[in-house]
């Protein structure tokens, strides 16, 4: 099936995990 190729796409499925980590880091920074 033509769409099988799509599985080769590089997609960041863990986006939310990284965004939460970034947010935690900078709130730590802000909290000093």
């Amino acid at each position: 099936m033509a769409t099988n190729f799509l599985v080769h796409e590089k997609i960041c499925f863990d986006k939310l995990k990284y965004e939460d980590a970034e947010r935690r880091f900078y709130e730590q920074m802000k909290g000093g």
């Binding site: 769409t3 099988n4 190729f5 799509l6 599985v7 796409e9 997609i11 960041c12 986006k15």
Partner: protein, 198 residues
């Protein structure tokens, strides 16, 4: 207008941006051509989507290819318009592609279905449709329409997207443009949300 060869594969929504502006069929065998030494010499990152200009200019990454084959209208005629194009290209890649793929890929049978991940992704999609519902009146961004395509084909049944009439109207307007028709043909929109294809 730029001329060259687009290395892609069928149904690759990332290629639609370039194909819609190029409107020429790609000549390429995915899985074969892109493993040859001459391909890797041209494209050391060995990534597909890749574009080879007739003048020997090589570029990969779908947004860079779409940029290169575009014209001033698509680039944005002012620095504000150009910055907004970059903004929505980047937003589509970082914020729309992941939840859209989480929702769509299991319905194509190319990824395992995870109920919780899919529900989270659907909520993200709702927020994106809501954002576009307020924003799409201000401008049409090719990349966003291409990135939403599979969602509208597989997941966005009317009960899901009826709360976002501007976004739906904007999307239908896009896919009914002649340049979209030339590449995508008639797009069959989702009537019933496709279920996980085991």
């Amino acid at each position: 207008m730029v001329a060259g060869t687009l290395y892609t594969y069928p149904e690759n929504w990332r290629s639609f941006k370039a194909l819609i502006t190029l409107s020429t069929a790609p000549h390429f065998q995915f899985g074969q051509t892109n493993c040859t030494p001459e391909f890797l010499h041209k494209f050391p990152a060995s990534k597909v989507l890749a574009f080879e200009g007739d003048d020997g200019f090589y570029v990969f990454q779908s947004s860079a290819i779409a940029y290169y084959v575009s014209n001033e209208e698509l680039w944005g005629r002012t620095s504000e318009a150009a910055a907004q194009v970059v903004q929505w290209v980047s937003f589509a890649d970082s914020d729309i592609v992941p939840p859209a793929s989480t929702c769509v890929f299991p319905t194509l049978g190319i990824m395992h279905h995870d109920e919780q991940a899919t529900e989270n992704a659907k909520e993200e999609v709702r927020q994106i449709l809501h954002l576009l519902d307020a924003h799409s009146k201000m401008g049409t961004f090719l990349v966003v329409a291409c990135t939403l395509l599979w969602l509208y084909k597989q997941v966005l049944e009317s009960s899901f997207c009826q709360a976002f009439p501007n976004t739906n109207c904007w999307f239908l307007t896009c896919i009914n443009q002649p340049q979209f028709w030339a590449v995508l043909g008639k797009v069959k929109l989702c009537e019933k949300m496709a279920q996980f294809d085991a």
